[in-house]
């Protein structure tokens, strides 16, 4: 039964949606995590141990995520990389907290995802992104009137939007049009765009994932709108998503720690390997997962754990988390006890189909 009984194999569990409408995000995480693990094992593993990934589907459903978690515990999971989406993450962290095992969520951005000591995250949290976006726009862009399109049925989107709204007010920005949509109608945005156009907005803030953003940008383009768009890390992945029509995304600005076409060696190597193995360009989720695995490896090294059967393994790893520094794809990260990563968001603008850093 116990998968990790194979000598010195360190089992990392993964949980995320592999089916259902959020399946892309889970798949990205699974793929990139596997890629990182293969790399590490090729270089001899960590402290003499080989890493192994067991990734379970949760269909973006908390109940199924808890089932998946228990399956992984039965299999002998030592560290959890997950879950990918916020809602299941909030349910699973309750369990992992009771078991006291280290949980690192690559992309669960809701505040409560890491409310316990054993949980850490790679991505930014929602409020921070909301505030950061408002601050950035107020301080660096010459616009005052903002229109927003956000997903009312999604935690990530509403989470960012709410903080953005509060911060925007403080910074003297005026939100002239708030347009929502839900998972029941997330392909047609013609009405929302029309509403914004009539509101006189100078910039449209879209704290949504790139799949919806692709629809929004395409339809804005069709309607002949030329208002600039500003998004958060969920927007990363928009260029490959648009395919041949990438020019639509020209001028879109986003806050993101990761850019698949960044010129540094690390990113290029990752993107190349990912493309070779899975045939598509990695997105933010993939980058977070890749960093997540390297973070786990770093924590193992720091904690000096040499056997998966170490009786104090959990506490050692959790303690190690606040002591390590990881130079990842998404920036150089350190953690404090809150579990939030310390790293800088970068604002980029899409120019000629590529990210270009802004200040």
């Amino acid at each position: 039964k116990n998968e990790s009984t194979a000598k010195n194999e360190f089992l990392i569990g993964g949980i995320g949606p592999l089916t259902g409408s959020a399946a892309t995000y889970g798949t990205s995480v699974k793929n990139a995590a596997q890629l990182a693990i293969d790399e590490i094992n090729e270089n001899g593993g960590v402290n003499g141990m080989l890493l192994k990934l067991n990734f379970q589907d949760d269909a973006n459903n908390p109940e199924k995520a808890v089932n998946a978690y228990n399956t992984l515990m039965d299999a002998g999971m030592k560290v959890l990389l997950g879950t990918v989406t916020s809602q299941p993450c909030i349910a699973v962290v309750e369990e992992s907290h009771k078991d006291g095992i280290l949980q690192i969520t690559p992309s669960g951005s809701a505040v409560d995802c890491i409310k316990y000591d054993n949980a850490f995250r790679i991505c930014f949290n929602d409020p921070d992104q909301g505030t950061a976006s408002a601050t950035y726009i107020a301080e660096n862009l010459d616009v005052k009137k903002i229109g927003v399109i956000y997903d009312k049925s999604n935690v990530y989107s509403t989470g960012i939007f709410e903080k953005f709204k509060a911060a925007a007010k403080e910074k003297g920005l005026e939100i002239v049009s708030e347009q929502a949509f839900t998972d029941q109608s997330n392909t047609d945005f013609s009405v929302q765009l029309q509403n914004i156009r009539e509101s006189g907005a100078e910039l449209i803030f879209i704290p949504v994932y790139y799949q919806e953003a692709a629809y929004i940008l395409t339809q804005a383009n069709q309607a002949g709108m030329s208002i600039p768009f500003f998004g958060c890390d969920g927007l990363d992945g928009i260029i490959p998503q648009l395919g041949d029509n990438a020019q639509i995304a020209e001028g879109v600005m986003l806050l993101t720690p990761f850019a698949a076409d960044a010129q540094d060696e690390k990113t290029q190597k990752f993107v190349k390997a990912y493309k070779e193995k899975y045939g598509s360009i990695p997105d933010q989720f993939a980058a977070d997962a890749y960093d997540g695995i390297y973070t786990i490896a770093e924590a193992i090294k720091k904690a000096g754990v040499t056997s998966p059967d170490d009786p104090d393994l959990n506490q050692k790893l959790i303690d190690a988390m606040t002591k390590i520094e990881v130079k990842g794809l998404t920036g150089t990260m350190t953690w404090d006890a809150s579990g939030e990563p310390k790293k800088e968001p970068k604002a980029v603008k899409i120019v000629n189909g590529a990210y270009k850093s802004m200040q």
């Binding site: 409408s21 399946a23 708030e178 029309q194 692709a214 395409t218 598509s280």
Partner: protein, 292 residues
């Protein structure tokens, strides 16, 4: 002006719903089954075109024909394997099997093409139509509307005037009696599925062209909306499906534009309920009261 253009937005969405609902109501009205997999056949149709054009580099026309043929065959095969053995079972059994088929199609596509959305090739490119200053009807929307109306007329004429069409109505009324007329009931139901699925391929083409992207789950929501449109228009009524689809799109658009984008879903569904309370068998449905 703004009202008119919002109305046009609603009409464009509505005509897509209507186009999907036509195929839905066809199967629904004649085979008397809720084919919950209809939305997924649409998705498969769009993927077929995507494969032919973006992956194999085939000509648009060939891709479209390929997609229609593929979906037609798919419809027939699904009917043979999953629905035909259930001719005598309760309609709910068939409904659940259809849900199984819907999951199956989604997961096959998921396995073959992966979970991420694919950009759909720009096949239909019609110039937007400008009326006056600010009023623009997108080319796709206009074309969709025209095609929907044409298909509606063809279907109505086909059912009313062709021999097969008459046989379809007979089958929908009483399978046993239809058999006694010498009608091959199984064949008629197969043809119904074939037509329904062929229409799904066309709907898939227009749906994907309008919105530009397809994923394994792209068919689910339009499928549900088309189901709603078909019921709203009156089960089995072809003009009803058209009317229901358009109305659904317009109500959705106008409530987003003038009431609330947050609550538009709730508003649309509430209006649906109210309409059905006043017209319990849909807008154009036959009000069959049981003779006592």
């Amino acid at each position: 002006m703004s009202f008119l253009s919002q109305l046009i937005n609603g009409l464009s969405v509505g005509s897509i719903y209507a186009l999907i609902a036509l195929g839905y109501t066809m199967v629904y009205g004649i085979a008397k089954m809720l084919n919950f997999a209809h939305g997924d056949v649409i998705m498969v149709g769009a993927y077929t075109i995507f494969t032919a054009v973006s992956m194999l580099g085939l000509d648009y026309w060939i891709a479209i024909i390929l997609s229609v043929v593929f979906c037609t065959v798919l419809g027939i095969v699904i009917e043979k394997i999953a629905y035909k053995p259930l001719r005598k079972a309760s309609p709910l059994t068939v409904l659940i099997t259809a849900i199984g088929v819907s999951y199956l199609l989604q997961n096959i596509v998921l396995l073959i093409y992966g979970s991420h959305q694919r950009p759909f090739p720009k096949i239909i490119s019609v110039k937007s139509i400008k009326i006056g200053e600010n009023l623009v009807i997108s080319g796709e929307a206009f074309f969709t509307m025209v095609i929907t109306i044409v298909i509606m007329i063809i279907l109505t004429l086909f059912i009313k005037n062709s021999k097969t069409g008459r046989a379809m109505v007979a089958v929908s009324e009483d399978k046993g009696a239809a058999e006694l007329m010498g009608i091959n009931v199984n064949r008629i139901i197969s043809i119904t599925f074939a037509i329904g699925s062929g229409l799904a391929a066309i709907a898939g083409l227009f749906f994907a062209s309008t919105y530009g992207f397809i994923g394994p789950y792209s068919g689910a929501m339009p499928g549900i909306k088309a189901f709603i449109a078909a019921v709203l228009g009156g089960i089995g009524s072809i003009p009803g499906a058209m009317l229901g689809g358009i109305l659904l799109g317009v109500v959705e658009g106008l409530s987003k534009a003038y009431i609330s984008t947050e609550l538009s879903d709730a508003i649309v569904f509430s209006i649906l309920i109210v309409i059905l309370l006043f017209k319990p068998s849909g807008l154009l449905g036959k009000n069959v009261t049981e003779k006592v």
